[in-house]
Amino acid sequence: MPDLLNTSLTGMLAFQRALQMTSHNITNANTPGYSRQVAEFATRIGGGAGKTYVGGGTKISIIKRMYDQLLVEQLRNSATGQARFTALNSMAGRIDSLLADADTGLSTGLQSYFNTLQDVSNDPGSIPIRQALLGEADGIASSFRTLDDRLQTLDSETNDRIRLAVDDINRLAAGIADVNDEIAIAGVGAQPNDLLDRRDQLVLELSGLISVATTVQEDGAMNVFIGSGQSLVLGDGAQRLGVRADEFDPTRLSVAYEGASGSTPLDTSLSGGTLGGLLEYRTRILDPSRQSLGQTAVAFVQQLNEQHQSGMDLRGNLGGDLFSMAPPTILYSSGNGGSGTASAMVADLGAFTGADYILEFDGASYSLTRGDTGQSVALTGTGTALDPFVADGIEIQVGGAPAAGDRIMIRTGQDAAGSIQNAITDPRALAIAAPTRSLASNANLGDASISAPTIVDSSDPALLTSAVIAFTSPTTYSINGAGSFVYTDGDPIVVNGSSVVITGVPSTGDQFTIEANYGAAGDNSNALLMTNLQSKGALDGGAISINESYAQLVASVGGTAHQIQAGLEAQNVVYANAQDAVLAKSGVNLDEEAANLIRFQQAYQAAAQVVNVTKVLFDSLLNATAR
């Protein structure tokens, strides 16, 4: 038979425990990942018979963890998305503001270089102005290098961040495995609420780094999978992710899964989370930016060098290179078995993309694919010096003895901007003048005049050899006394790599001379042609000028950064909503707890009052029998 004292005691004990639980809720109101706990009361079965059945008090049947699996999974997914965009946004924002900065921006440097070139063409004989142009050349070369250097710094920072993210993933995976172990120890069917909270919090943090999928086993242990189904945590065991050097470039880190059966590369199957965001940033923003900058650099250097080589300097020599630049970088796969080699050069700016290419040998022939898209690119030629492979404006020569399956990466644009150097230090070596000039003889009787020569082949060995165009009749002429050519008013005449146009009616015996332009300190013909390169279309089939190419880079980075910002804002809202939903279910409300505190305190007091009643009842019994 239940007795009054025991019944009230069960109430006191239950309410004490409920108060304890309330205080646990209150103290964890700000603990991330904490799920509030709710006590459920149940009656104790009492005794009695028939119609006088009396209950035996109360008990806490369960302390429930307020929790919704679906909401938690939503939160994890949105955390993965949000972290991806946060990583992308913070890194893309860096390039964005780098390009916005007028001091590191290339555009002003390019303008200033070409303007000084025009100053030189205004007064070509002036050594101080030539010196100023060399200063500008140093400046623009260093602008290219600085910009590329900053991008490279971002690249190595990305490496560091990837390493940190992988470390974090490994730490969290080990943590989850440990908690799994503790949960298993608690036994099947147990509800170790705080351990479950801790594990969910670890998984949430993990899903901020990498996209995960989870399943819960019978014994309560949780399995975590990443990528394309690789298990990161199985029960109380965790696998590791590793970083390893890229196949081609040892300074570039990629992510590998260190499974039981060895390490497998993961890069392409990772998406989402900080790690996915970093890898995506590298391939989607950073690499293309460096390649595009390299494309601009190659267009600038090749065009100027080519034109400069078609000019004559103050000493009467043909111009050399204005700027030096490394050829496309050749990287050999660490897995290559043969000794095949390759070299490459940019041959056609109009088709040049600046992209990375992978040249693969299948045992009999070579094939080329683009590094970024994996698309195969048709090769023409045979790869020899005389007949190199040609693809996308690049000429590739191969040699050595490659083994089947050997791979070679050709980085055509990425390293270009970082390697530009001013190649001329002597102001007199600037080839500002044309290499040849034309003269009409003073003895000419006709009214024909000759144009200044334009250079059609600066490599003609006889370029600087004098040539005389003598009219043997008003309609025919000979060159250096030989041949008889029909004269057509206004048609170009090409002699020794120079092209001149004679207009008007010559008399028999009239002579025109083309000779080396020695001593022409005042000639600016070549500088004029060089300044025209500023706005001349060169890239993309001759549609894009140097400055436009840089503007394209700015627009493309800006556009991507803009998209990412918009994406991040959307993800922030999704995440905030998911978090709100989880907190609405699981979060502690202090007012609610305060109310519970009052409720349980009052219930406790009431139960205690029952003890007092018991005492009074007992006392009256004693008093009744003590007489």
């Binding site: 003073n442 001593g519 627009a555």
Partner: protein, 397 residues
């Protein structure tokens, strides 16, 4: 919906942070005056602004270039104006010298003054520009263009002409080579020159000459030989007879599309020659005149020879004056073209600056009202955060 204490706190804070971020952005826009802070704010506008800035910078450079060309052409123009004045004076002197009232002595004085002017002309042709280069040496700007060896004048420059870019696709020559200005002047009447043979013994003097039918004129050298004082034959360079005629003093002799007048009394076997005008230099022209005037002429024959030379010289002066005028006209039209181009560059630049301002510049009125709206919202959010966070049942326990 159930609101947990933590989410009330997190949401309130997030709202405040977001407001602060946009306030910071507005503030940075206002302090920099720029609508676009990084390319991502407006990628299209950012790249458009790069292109506009490049075009503007080129226009500014074209402005500088125009100043340089204008300076050079003005220098050339003033040199040519001086040359013109000297030539006018030389021509006057020649006319004066050709007057029959002049004595041998007075003609010598005239010749002396003429040689002074010759020296002036040489100096003008060898003038340097502001940068120390020779104005008329073509591209060989460090080479003195005109030198005299004995009685021969040589041009040492080249025939190059420097062009300066003054607009997109617009180039203007900033000089003319001395060869074109001083050395390649057609003598005579520009088409052909006449001369009396040195061995003439008569007093025939050649007057005005011209081409009357260019289709008949074949630029051959013709010799007019007097068989006797009243009859002449015209032979071409290969000795073929072209025409014959009877002569009366003051007659116009015409053949093969050209004509000239002849006065005086040529002797039998006297010869007059009409040959295609060669290039002659200005200096030799003046020198020949001075030489002719210096020659003592005491007989009618020698006076006729001198008259022929002085007449040819005066004709040359007319050619030279016309030639210099041509060059000056070209210089003038270049200067006018530059002015036009500067004007059009200016209006281009203005249009671009307007476009650039529209793309880049901040609308201050809009930005400042945005700033005050954002400030108000932020203050309200902060106050409401404090108020809601202060609410707690515990305060009432």
């Amino acid at each position: 919906m159930r609101v947990s204490t933590r989410s009330a706190y997190l949401n309130g804070l997030a709202a405040i942070q977001q407001l602060q971020a946009s306030l910071d952005r507005t503030q940075r826009q206002i302090s920099s005056g720029r609508r676009i802070l990084t390319p991502s704010d407006d990628p299209i506008a950012a790249s458009r602004s790069l292109e506009l800035r490049e075009a503007l910078s080129r226009l500014q450079q074209f402005g500088r270039n125009s100043t340089v060309v204008t300076n050079r052409l003005s220098q050339e123009e003033s040199a040519l104006a001086a040359v013109n004045n000297v030539l006018q004076r030389v021509r006057e002197l020649a006319l004066q010298g050709s007057n029959a009232t002049q004595s041998n002595e007075s003609r010598k004085f005239i010749a002396i003054e003429m040689r002074e002017h010759l020296g002036n002309l040489e100096q003008l042709a060898n003038q340097k520009d502001g940068n120390g280069g020779y104005l008329f040496a073509g591209n060989l700007e460090n080479t003195q263009p005109v030198s005299r060896m004995g009685s021969t004048f040589t041009y040492n420059g080249d025939q190059g002409q420097r062009f300066i870019q003054i607009g997109e696709g617009r180039q203007v020559a900033d000089s003319d080579p001395g060869s074109a200005v001083f050395f390649q002047i057609r003598s005579g009447n520009g088409e052909f020159a006449t001369a009396a043979a040195a061995a003439n013994t008569g007093t025939g003097v050649i007057g005005a000459s011209s081409v009357i039918d260019p289709t008949l004129y074949d630029q051959d050298e013709y010799t007019i030989r007097f068989a006797d004082p009243d009859n002449y034959d015209v032979f071409d360079s290969s000795g073929g007879l072209v025409a014959s005629g009877a002569y009366v003093s003051g007659d116009t002799i015409a053949f093969r599309g050209i004509e000239f007048t002849l006065a005086g009394e040529p002797a039998a076997a006297d010869e007059f020659i009409a040959s295609p005008s060669p290039f002659q230099d200005l200096f030799s022209m003046v020198q020949n005149l001075a030489n002719a005037l210096e020659t003592s002429s005491n007989s009618p024959e020698s006076r006729a020879a001198m008259a022929n030379q002085v007449n040819a010289g005066i004709m040359n002066m007319d050619q030279a004056l016309g030639h210099i005028l041509d060059v000056r006209t070209q210089v003038g039209s270049r200067l006018a073209a530059i002015e036009d181009q500067v004007d059009s560059n200016g209006s281009f630049a203005l249009a671009m600056q307007t476009a650039l301002a529209e793309i880049e510049d901040l609308d201050y009125a809009e930005a400042i009202s945005r700033l005050s709206a954002e400030t108000t919202t932020l203050e309200a959010a902060q106050k409401s955060f404090v108020i809601t966070q202060r609410l707690s049942l515990f305060n009432l326990l």
